[in-house]
């Protein structure tokens, strides 16, 4: 039974191992200011992974997040002048609608989320290309600083980015563990038919989960856009696979019902640390991808709790 309890901490253990390896190779890694900076930089990816968690938690996947974020960077840049901070509302709404619509296609039209979200991602990409006029756009710097400059400030040594991530994490955690919605998500992830037969509005719950994913993808895109002070239809490329990896490495399997947002915190940190390790351990440029793949396999092999995969491993 002791061992059972330890399983819960496997992802943390993996993280610890990786951190130790880097720390031994280069003690400078433990410089607190540097560490905080590194962690703050992964915030947009983390927020996206946080949203992805909800979808994977119910056994689906959201491949549209990166394109939604791309679209949002364009929207933010284009409409910042018109709406100021209000542009955030538009972005969030757009993100939610894209997500919810993917969810609708999945639940009502029985299109697997792998395909429905991929396709909705294409729609988002086209919208972004159209809206941006196929150009990289930049924001008016003063406008950006007036409206969103606070995001990159510091209070008592804590970057506001981290604070935002913390708040979103808390909300997500609260939603997952403390609300009827979170409980319903778990039921849908673990046994959808039983959830239906208990009178839950399963379709609506699933659509909402996708909606949350879209919303958080939009917030990630917004933060990224403000950080870069601009946007275009491809600028968030590279987020998608990493956010999926972050969720899975954290120990939320694609089968659903297990894991959750706290796991995603560890997962994102593991991804961060693997990436940082490439630089700190001075891995040769042509070997980085190979090493990433191998370390990923090792990390997952260490991390996943096989007893929770229920039945066969597919």
């Amino acid at each position: 039974m002791k061992l059972e309890a330890l399983k819960h901490f496997l992802p943390w253990f993996t993280l610890l191992v990786l951190v130790t390896i880097i720390g031994i190779a280069n003690p400078a890694f433990f410089d607190p200011a540097g560490l905080i900076g590194l962690v703050a930089d992964i915030v947009p990816l983390f927020i996206m992974a946080l949203g992805m968690t909800f979808v994977i938690y119910i056994g689906g996947i959201d491949l549209s997040v990166q394109q939604v974020a791309n679209l949002v960077t364009v929207i933010t840049t284009v409409y910042l002048a018109n709406f100021g901070m209000g542009v955030a509302v538009i972005c969030i709404l757009v993100g939610f609608l894209f997500g919810a619509f993917s969810g609708f296609i999945t639940t009502r039209l029985f299109v697997p989320s792998f395909v429905s979200t991929l396709a909705m991602g294409f729609v988002a990409l086209s919208s972004a290309r159209y809206l941006s006029g196929e150009r990289a756009l930049s924001m008016d710097t003063t406008l950006r600083n007036e409206n969103f400059g606070w995001i990159f400030g510091n209070t008592a040594g804590i970057p506001h980015e981290l604070a935002i991530a913390g708040v979103l994490l808390f909300l997500a955690w609260f939603l997952q563990t403390r609300t009827t919605f979170g409980r319903a998500l778990k039921a849908v992830g673990s046994g959808e038919l039983a959830a239906v037969a208990s009178g839950l509005k399963v379709d609506r719950i699933k659509i909402l989960a996708f909606g949350i994913s879209g919303t958080l993808a939009a917030i990630a895109g917004l933060m990224f856009s403000v950080k870069l002070s601009g946007g275009d239809a491809h600028i968030a490329n590279g987020f998608l696979l990493l956010s999926i990896v972050a969720v899975l490495v954290g120990g939320t399997p694609l089968t659903g019902g297990v894991g959750g947002v706290i796991n995603t915190v560890v997962g994102t940190l593991i991804v961060l640390v693997i990436r940082v390790a490439m630089v700190y351990l001075e891995i040769d440029a042509t070997q980085q991808q190979l090493v990433f793949g191998v370390v990923l396999i090792a990390a997952i092999a260490l991390t996943i709790d096989r007893s929770k995969l229920r039945g066969v491993v597919k």
Binding site: R183, K186, A187, G191, A194, A195, V196, A197, G199
Partner: protein, 500 residues
């Protein structure tokens, strides 16, 4: 010829088999009974090579054998018909029959489908089943699938020289009486070639079929009786560790029901599944729908629960007509559904006992969407106590409970939420008599508290014993209504006569 000596099997935290001695002689039918979780299935799986014993020896004709996987067991003539069906739905019947043994039809790497079909036909003939071997298995009825399962095991006849041992783990729990007869007939015929181990919770069947009966309790063999000496009550006593009331349907406690209508069906039809069904369910009434497998009884329950939408007619719940058929609405109107597939639709495995209990009524345990977990847990503790659910605590994963206890969790879910219309679909399937008794008690108790119960029972005896009213459904149509007041209950014969 087949012998287990001091076989031991441990799972984390459970000692499932404790030094079990077990013998099967040539041509013998051995019964194996025991309450839920006694270790019957585990024993079967050890014999079949699906589990490996931790200790003890297995011998066949005095030779020690050890199977690392089912395949090796099969090669030694051991076959198994599973408690949960083991046919693969998307494959054809013949592929299922020869699954893993296609080699005989393969010539230079190519499967000869014609030859396989022919061979499959022969196997199907053994179980007197006339279906096209190329049919996709999912298109067969449940009974047909059970027969295919048996046919699959019987391929051992040709494949293996020497004696066969066929394990039947609760093969009858889903069969209607006449199908059971057919199965028994087959089994008896086949003793020429094979020995059988027969596991069932239906004691009469075990007595009827078996030459010798092993009784298990808590992983141990507590008794072995010859058929001639067998006495149901004594066996049940050994199994449960206490006396079992023969009057376990508690007919004497049956109270008359009130006139208040809870559910009224008016000429309800669902495509070809059932047609023109009308009846009323009253407060405090237990109403059984009886009929053969596939007669449409379950579909009627599912319609009332909102899981499917009738094509014509209308349903009134407590005087209000249902306009939108979904589970949500029905739950809101106080209907609870105990499904036949309790592991799929009844409980959410992976969620704890208390989470399962409040799943249908989270609004009552939350404010503004935020759960009051403390209240949930105290509710769960109360009902664990009240129904005697065997679980260490309310946090335990419901998927890890035994079937009977899972069933109690499902009932607790509905009852604690105040549902006063309960739809029971095979509520005692696969439960041991101890657990069954508990379910009967609960039915009685609910009925006396004014709950209307619509029952699709596992056996006719159960339906007769429990119900105020029995409606016979045949081919999806209303056939006959019986009043079942104590003293005036219809006989088995009356019902069967109308069913087929």
């Amino acid at each position: 010829m087949y012998e287990l000596r001091k076989v031991d099997k441990k799972f984390p935290g459970v000692h499932a088999l404790k030094a079990v001695d077990f013998t099967v002689n040539r041509g013998e039918i051995v019964g194996l009974v025991g309450e839920n979780g006694a270790g019957k299935s585990t024993l079967m799986k050890v014999i079949y090579g699906a589990y490996q014993a931790d200790g003890g020896t297995v011998t066949i004709d005095q030779k020690v054998v050890r199977f690392h996987n089912p395949r090796q067991a099969m090669d030694h003539g051991i076959g198994m018909v599973f408690q949960e069906q083991s046919l693969i739905a998307n494959l054809s019947v013949m592929e299922n029959i020869f699954l893993g043994y296609e080699a005989q039809f393969v010539k230079s790497g190519i499967i000869n489908w014609g030859a396989m079909a022919k061979a499959a036909k022969e196997q199907l003939a053994k179980v007197k089943l006339d279906v096209d071997p190329a049919t996709t298995t999912s298109k067969l009825s449940f009974v047909q699938r059970q027969l295919v399962e048996l046919a699959k095991v019987l391929t051992l006849e040709e494949r293996v020289d020497g004696d066969l041992v066929v394990l039947l783990d609760e093969p009858t729990s889903v069969l209607a009486r006449e199908e059971v007869e057919l199965l028994f007939e087959l089994v008896r015929e086949l003793t020429k070639r094979a020995s059988f181990i027969f596991v069932s919770h239906r004691m009469e069947e075990v007595l009827e079929l078996s030459d010798r009966i092993y009784v298990m309790k808590d992983g141990e063999i507590v008794d072995v009786v010859e058929q001639a000496d067998a006495d149901i009550r004594a066996i049940q006593h050994k199994m449960v560790g206490r006396d079992v009331d023969t009057q376990y349907y508690r007919e004497d406690q049956q109270k008359p029901y009130s006139e208040e209508k809870l559910v009224s069906c008016h000429s309800v039809s669902l495509g070809q599944r059932y047609k023109d069904i009308s009846f009323d369910l009253h407060r405090g009434e237990v109403l059984s729908l009886v009929g053969t497998e596939g007669s449409g009884r379950e579909a009627i329950l599912r319609t009332i629960f909102g899981l499917n939408c009738p094509t014509s007619g209308h349903v009134e719940i407590k005087g209000e007509q249902i306009s939108k058929f979904n589970a949500r609405t029905s739950v809101g109107k106080g209907i609870g559904y105990v499904p036949r597939e309790r592991k799929i639709e009844g409980i959410v495995s992976g969620m704890s006992v208390y989470e399962n209990m409040t799943l249908s009524q989270m609004q009552s345990y939350s404010s503004a969407g935020v759960l009051n977990t403390a209240a949930e847990k105290s509710l769960a503790r109360e009902w664990i106590e009240r129904l005697g659910i065997k679980t260490p605590n309310e946090f335990k994963d419901c998927g890890g409970l035994s079937g009977g206890n899972q069933q109690k969790v499902v009932l607790a879910k509905w009852r604690s939420g105040g549902s006063d219309i309960i739809l029971l679909d095979h509520p005692t399937r696969g439960l041991d008599i101890g657990a069954k008794e508990d379910v009967y008690d609960m039915v009685r108790e609910m009925s006396s508290q004014g709950v209307g119960i619509l029952l699709v029972a596992d056996t006719l005896e159960e339906a007769i014993g429990l119900s105020h009213t029995i409606i016979v459904i045949k081919d999806g149509m209303f056939c006959k209504r019986f009043d079942g007041k104590p003293g005036g209950k219809p006989s088995l014969f009356d019902l069967v006569h109308h069913m087929i």
